[in-house]
């Protein structure tokens, strides 16, 4: 069984010029009682080793669903992937057998979740849960796995790791729990780490520490990091490039500094303007008008058009393609030039 699995699992090194991970035209839909929910509608992005990609978007934009499709942890059904590829070192994961997929999941592509308290099993000690990676995947003994768990807890800087290895998740603070989650995810040196809003449930001061830890671990191991977030503040320091999602599509992708300097899509622009700033104290806070799109009943044309200050007639009818602004940037807006110039439509 194990041999057939390793045959199809992509080799370390990879083939030629393939990126570490490439999501290509991915579609995910959910069959619900109310109808077909199209959560992801043709998302593409790539990630190279040592690179950090921030996927930015509000709730329901499809950012987490995309990540779960990469991991292969969507419940299917109700979820369905009618179209698209997830290539890991050139191999399409979606075509792999479950057996082979399990070999990659957790070992080569790992994931950490938003709320570590509910994401950790309440009835097992943290040492047991971290050590499980070594016991199940590496066949280590209970004692060796626990030693490894202590090492990892040290590495994510949990104080007194040796004494705390047999504590339960509820005995740790929120920040420490997320560190344990991180320790568990990096246990087997994955090549890709997906962090799904890893700091959303934490205090601001702790958020910074966790982001620092992730950045440091990434530098040490040269893994690719996908950082899913809705917090623009978190992104600026650590990300290399950003993909902004709206209504299940990527509306803009660009190197991080370009986006902050000159957003190329009205939605990105709105997001940046809605960050409260000290020099605007006393003024009304900016908010993007309207509501996120209803995934059961998507607006025609560009799904952002009902909320867009740049809207023209063709926005209501024509779905914008992902226009190339320059070789490193794309924007899915018919009027990206006007947006870049900053002239309001």
């Amino acid at each position: 069984m194990k041999n057939t699995a390793t045959e199809v699992v992509p080799a370390e090194g990879g083939l030629g010029n393939d990126p570490l991970l490439a999501v290509d035209n991915l579609h995910v839909e959910f069959a619900t009682r109310a109808g077909l929910v199209k959560a992801v509608n043709g998302v593409s992005y790539t990630l190279n080793a040592g690179e950090t990609l921030a996927v930015l978007g509000e709730s329901g934009s499809g950012k987490s669903v995309t990540a779960q499709a990469i991991m292969g942890i969507l419940d299917m059904p109700p979820a369905r992937i009618p179209l698209g590829e997830v290539r890991f070192r050139g191999t399409d994961l979606l075509k792999l057998k479950e057996e082979a997929r399990t070999q990659i999941r957790g070992q080569r592509i790992a994931m950490i979740f938003q709320d570590a308290l509910s994401a950790l099993n309440p009835v097992f000690t943290v040492g047991w849960q971290i050590g499980e990676m070594f016991r199940v995947h590496r066949g280590m003994s209970r004692r060796d796995a626990e030693t490894k768990a202590v090492e990892l807890m040290d590495r994510v800087r949990i104080p007194a790791a040796k004494q705390r290895v047999n504590d339960y998740p509820h005995q740790f603070s929120g920040g420490m729990r997320q560190r344990i989650m991180i320790a568990m995810s990096i246990a087997l040196d994955p090549e890709v780490l997906i962090a799904d809003e890893p700091t959303t449930a934490l205090d601001v001061t702790v958020q910074a520490q966790i982001m620092e830890l992730l950045a440091e671990l990434q530098r040490e191991s040269n893994m690719g990091l996908i950082l899913i977030t809705h917090d623009l503040g978190v992104v600026a320091d650590v990300a290399d490039k950003i993909a902004v999602m709206y209504g299940g599509r990527i509306v803009e992708n660009a190197p991080v500094h370009d986006i902050y300097r000159t957003p190329g899509h009205p939605y990105t622009k709105g997001l940046l303007e809605s960050i409260p700033r000290v020099d605007q104290k006393g003024q009304e806070l900016y908010a993007i008008k309207g509501l996120p799109p209803n995934l059961l009943d998507m607006p025609s044309g560009c799904s952002f058009h009902p909320r867009c200050p740049y809207r023209q007639d063709n926005c209501v009818t024509d779905v914008p393609e992902l226009y190339e602004i320059n070789p490193t940037r794309n924007s899915a807006c018919h009027y990206w030039r006007e947006v870049l110039d900053g002239t309001d439509g």
């Binding site: 991991m71 942890i73 399990t102 070999q103 990659i104 999941r105 957790g106 070992q107 790992a110 994931m111 979740f113 709320d115 509910s118 994401a119 950790l120 099993n121 309440p122 009835v123 097992f124 499980e132 990676m133 199940v136 995947h137 339960y168 509820h170 989650m181 568990m184």
Partner: protein, 313 residues
């Protein structure tokens, strides 16, 4: 932990006192004369009746009667029946029989209920799930009296006469542990149905939990995800139900023991109520209350073992 246990046991004392009082009062309030029912249809010499009434304090006011009884209990004297049998001796032998029956029922309940519940939860929405749910509904709606007599007829009489297969004795306790199988199943019937449903819901809910998603994301085989990560959490409410159910089962034994002619405390309780044997009724019921209290204490302690978030100080 030790202090917690002691506190719980101290709390049990007023509960036990209260229950003896209530039972004593209830039997006292029953119409009819115990001495007369002792004599049956025969005419009895009035002087004998008067002596017996005096001996059993039947002429004293209620509170005085209760006082005599409870005074005896504290020095280990649970009274005698009207036929001069020590109540403690009477109960002791029969109690073991009922414990055997209740334990058989509890084990059957745990195996069948949890088994079917897990099966249904893992095949949710499929035919087998619906079939299991439907059969639990039937089990809940049919009274114990019906399942008892029907199984007695089918397994004890028809199966034996038509095929000669005689594995299920359906009366008395003459065949060791096998004697308890059918009565145990009948006694557990309704509980099996509830436990099946509880197990199904509990596991189905746990399978949706975040930590199960984490376990999948760790690349663990499905069997381990369900068997270790989900099941360990799903079991917690089931243990509570099972423990509390032991008391229900022992109480429910009154009917089952009558159907299958099992000489346990259920049958004795029935007869004693009929004959207004106050000390016997109070003794048995108090014992049932005690079992109930101890079972619940045991469950609470087990809870702390199963769920590390719970600690008793």
């Amino acid at each position: 932990m030790g202090r917690y246990i002691i506190r719980r046991l101290i709390q049990a004392i007023p509960v036990l006192l209260g229950s003896t009082f209530l039972i004593y009062l209830t039997v006292f309030a029953l119409p009819g004369d115990p001495i007369a029912s002792l004599a049956g249809e025969k005419r009895t010499d009035p002087t004998v009746v008067a002596i017996l009434r005096e001996q059993y304090h039947l002429n004293d006011p209620f509170f005085l009667q209760y006082w005599y009884y409870i005074k005896g209990v504290f020095v280990g004297d649970f009274g005698t029946t009207f036929a001069k049998v020590e109540v403690s001796d009477l109960i002791a032998g029969k109690f073991q029989v009922t414990i055997n029956l209740a334990m058989t029922a509890l084990i059957l309940e745990a195996i069948i209920g949890v088994g079917l519940g897990l099966w249904a939860a893992l095949r949710r929405g499929q035919a087998i799930d619906s079939a299991i749910l439907a059969s639990t509904l039937i089990l809940i709606s049919v009274p114990t009296l019906v399942t008892g007599f029907v199984l007695q007829l089918l397994l004890g009489v028809q199966l034996k006469t038509s095929t000669g297969f005689d594995f299920f004795p359906v009366a008395g306790v003459y065949d060791g542990w096998r004697s308890y199988l059918v009565p145990g199943f009948v006694l557990a019937g309704v509980s099996i149905a509830y436990l099946t449903r509880l197990t199904r819901t509990s596991l189905a809910e746990t399978l949706r939990a975040d930590f199960v998603r984490t376990a999948v994301a760790k690349g663990l085989p499905r069997r381990r995800v369900v068997g270790r990560h989900a099941l360990r959490n799903a079991l917690i409410p089931l243990v509570t139900y099972l423990g509390a159910d032991l008391g229900t089962l022992m109480g429910g034994a009154v009917i089952t023991e009558s159907i299958f002619n099992i000489p346990g405390i259920g049958q004795e309780l029935f007869r004693s109520v009929y004959e207004r044997q106050q000390p016997v009724v109070v003794g048995i019921v108090t014992l049932l209350v005690l079992v109930y209290i101890l079972a619940n204490l045991f469950v609470d302690l087990l809870y702390a073992v199963l769920d590390p978030r719970i600690r008793y100080e």
